[in-house]
Symmetry: C2
Subunit: 666 residues, 2 copies
Amino acid sequence: QKILFLVYKATVAEDSAMENIVTEKKAEESHRQDSADLLIFILLLTLTILTIWLFKHRRFRFLHETGLAMIYGLLVGVVLRYGIHVPRDINNVTLSCHVNSSPATLLVNVSGKFYEYTLKGEISANEVSDVQDNEMLRKVTFDPEVFFNILLPPIIFHAGYSLKRRHFFRNMGSILAFAFVGTVVSCFIIGLLMYGCVMLMKQIGQLGGDFFFTDCLFFGAIVSATDPVTVLAIFNELQVDFDLYALLFGESVLNDAVAVVLSSSIVAYQPEGDNSHTFEAMAVLKSFGIFLGVFSGSFALGVATVSLTCPHVTKFTKLRDFQLLETALFFLMSWSTFLLAEACGFTGVVAVLFCGITQAHYTYNNLSPESQDRTKQLFELLNFLAENFIFSYMGLTLFTFQNHVFNPIFIVGAFLSVFLGRAANIYPLSFLLNLGRRNKISSNFQHMMMFAGLRGAMTFALSIRDTATYARQMMFSTTLLVVFFTVWICGGGTTQMLSCQHIRVGVDSDQDNSVSGVFLQIGPDGIERRSTKQESAWLFRLWYNFDHNYLKPILTHSGPPLTATLPACCGPLARCLTSPQAYENEGQLKDDDSDLILNDGNISLTYGDITVSTDATGTRTSGQPVGGINSDEALDRELTFGDHELVIRGTRLVLFELHGKKQNHV
Amino acid sequence: QKILFLVYKATVAEDSAMENIVTEKKAEESHRQDSADLLIFILLLTLTILTIWLFKHRRFRFLHETGLAMIYGLLVGVVLRYGIHVPRDINNVTLSCHVNSSPATLLVNVSGKFYEYTLKGEISANEVSDVQDNEMLRKVTFDPEVFFNILLPPIIFHAGYSLKRRHFFRNMGSILAFAFVGTVVSCFIIGLLMYGCVMLMKQIGQLGGDFFFTDCLFFGAIVSATDPVTVLAIFNELQVDFDLYALLFGESVLNDAVAVVLSSSIVAYQPEGDNSHTFEAMAVLKSFGIFLGVFSGSFALGVATVSLTCPHVTKFTKLRDFQLLETALFFLMSWSTFLLAEACGFTGVVAVLFCGITQAHYTYNNLSPESQDRTKQLFELLNFLAENFIFSYMGLTLFTFQNHVFNPIFIVGAFLSVFLGRAANIYPLSFLLNLGRRNKISSNFQHMMMFAGLRGAMTFALSIRDTATYARQMMFSTTLLVVFFTVWICGGGTTQMLSCQHIRVGVDSDQDNSVSGVFLQIGPDGIERRSTKQESAWLFRLWYNFDHNYLKPILTHSGPPLTATLPACCGPLARCLTSPQAYENEGQLKDDDSDLILNDGNISLTYGDITVSTDATGTRTSGQPVGGINSDEALDRELTFGDHELVIRGTRLVLFELHGKKQNHV
């Protein structure tokens, strides 16, 4: 309620009408400048696309589109920084009034007229003179929240939506271990090493400001988010082993989510005493609680909103007939998940990731084929544009950002610790996982994963989000260099690394299936581990059955009709929730999601028993008639169906082959 | 260079660290609030989509999606206004300091820390207390520039891109007359009537502020932009006569562009003397010059950037193989046209309209079939979302906008003058046009056009752009009511009006072709007018030939190869510019754009002669083999090809029919 009125006698009295015109002109000028700045980025992206085309056309694989976008960004940054001298605008006066708080809205009284100002942020004292000097450079600097709220969501959603679920679920355990344990380990290793580095800098007097241990941990968290887009693009092109692909992709998708939540809980670390930045068990516990709460909250929100609303909406309306409405609805639902999570104080990016996975799992099945294509293409486009925009902005910002703090010791330390942190993530975890995995992560896979630990969009977005303090500015500058180095050197050397590590390329879906078959044959010699394997997969199988028999039929058109899976007493409810398509599908494609259970050979064997035993109807066609499809026919089908279908068909084929083999063995 | 430092001793000294936290919390709170606000709109759109589906499913045509979006917006507006009471935030202090100018950037020194504020805009003195009171209502109010720079461009681009060029060009003359002459007439009629109205209000003392003649003209300009989305959607569904559709659609698309430029040149009207708002010939001339300059500049920029860059880029790169790159490039090119126009001081919306038309004319032919679908679907989706967002925001703003000025006399006057302005546009112009048109605009068509003069997104965006003065606020409130009334009453009554005016529905492409045939048969009785017709079409034919023989081959893969159309001396250049596809296409689809010339029966007759005479190769297959296609076959083809293709094929069929008939007559 305390509204302070500050009266300042204007020294130069100006005519009100003239001033109005000046203000209008200024606004127009500013708008034109904004348009021109945005145009620079659009032209940058256009240039990038054209060069990418050239590279793809010439099958040139040393530089990925993201690396290229960075190079173009760098060039434009140099031009903006050193090439262009904008004549100083006399009218562009900056006033400074000293008041006792910084409200979100400020009213300024200019000779009787009120102007409204909104808070943009704090700037450091030494920047004050820069504000006038480099208006143009400041203009091309985006609000950092743009990255988090506009550019990152489509990228993360697309990652979730295009996740190859079959391979993902097959390597689920390892991916979770790398993403959660690995990222936390990496974060703390990097944090500790950097703290040592900072101590050293303090000793030799190279530190120009505060740098606490929490800052080091924060740095560890943000550079632990890997983003191997470059590597995965090459993997896709060369058709590298699917398990390696799944491990890398799954890890990078999930560790982005982990890193976001981890960094925000590190920021939230606040010991009781005013003298902060000391160790305190309670505060650590609280931070850990925040981590768990925010992560699980975002996860639950992403999964729940989608699985509670979207599939039902798409299932029971006949929206299929209106593809435009369907696509629009799908887009809006996904966006609203992000907004809901942000509005609830959770992390929208994490929610949108799990939203993407859930949409792919349930809603996708209810969409008409046209909308399946449309949504895929839409998010592919958004992902492409956002990603290249972020990377070209990264290049640009190396020159246009005004408060870079490059410290040689810190940079060398960061590179070393990033390397060691990645090593401490991959090798020990792989060793531990290999104790439990039948399908071992071989040492060349480990080296490849180590090498593919690029840093990208998420690391950048996290580090640019707050560049107010000295510590954060140094982190930001160093992070930029880490991203540049990893994307150019590690990304560019992927093909060499692959051939150097003798990792086989050119694996297609069929060959991969035969690999699953191999597991089965080598299965019997690992018989002592089978029981433990079944134990660990027990929870997963339970979930699978629940999903297949109840969730899928309730939420989508696929799966067995509920009338068959629910007990007889729920008959009316079951009939009301089952869509007509489910009955139609019953005979044919009932195993759409058998891919989920295929995480080990012996599980797919038991799968056969389970379905047979849970089926009370007895009317099921057994594997025989479908199993009769020969591989030529299957290949034909694969050529006609899309990628999503392909995976499903491929799996079914294996299943029935396994089933057949088992019967032969019996 | 004049940096003023204002020192204010803080009355309540606060701890710096505590304050930091408070600022951070405030920013977080504000972000959450923003997310929640956006979520409201997303849910509104979702609700709209679901209800639209229901309406479409039940074939309920009294309420279009835009009308529905407005109703939902209204309801949410009521809830926000009267239903929710946000507890006043104590921390949300608004400071007021009196200084002598309003710079774009303001630095505030809070106990040694500098905070940066950016200018949001001027607010009137009586609003100052509202700023504190209705923080929440102000939050859901978007920056008006969002409409112009983000939401309107995709709508306008989509209109240009989806223009049915065949019918558009056939009625080109009439459309241009309605759009240019009609809009200007309507603007001045409305302006004059409203000025009378304002004079009356001044007499009886109902005017609470300044209201000049230029304001009246401005009002005339903004309510002259028609937007019959509702009507056209019903036309599409009922397959109403294509000429009526083309007239309405073409007029509304172009008069949006005219209205934007007209309103900005009225704003730019500034007589020499300081005592403005008086009539002055020079200033009027200057405004007229601005109108011409901005319109032709935007037009030239839209056409030039696209036709100079995009087709070449898509033609000579083999981007066709990478649809994602192609679509991304197409999107970026279109966006950069908008930005370029804005950066140059032209009107981006106008540029983007002509960009859309040009893209459809040239670039579309170079795209791969997948990208043609993708781009269409992408812009369809963007258009759908933007349109519904604007209409639901319109509904919401009726209650959440804080400075409504509803004046009964002004409102009644506005409705009357809008009606009279539309009448003064349609009837006299139709009479004049009918003197020159063979295919008369019948009186029931005229009534329908009169009735279909809805006001929509453009009118709203123009009126919300500036609501600083009393006059503008009154205009804004009145405009909202005009939009509501026309969309609900005129939009809802379209079906009734159609049947009442006995306008035939259920016209499909084939029947329409037979209509062209009818023109030919009624041709001979209008023989005295034929020569004038040919005169007026002379320029157009010249352009067509130039376009068909040179521009199309240079810019796209279609059309005859340049080696055939260019003189022999240009041989090497021609060979270098002609794409391999052009030779392939030579035999078959050479008349892809014959639709352009089909604006009258006799022109299509002469067309036959022209192509024969300009063809020096002599290798052309004549109309005979293709003309042999019977209509059943053509129908089959139409079912397999998309809408765009359909139009082309349909036209070709007529052409050859006409050709054949001519030969029979000879």
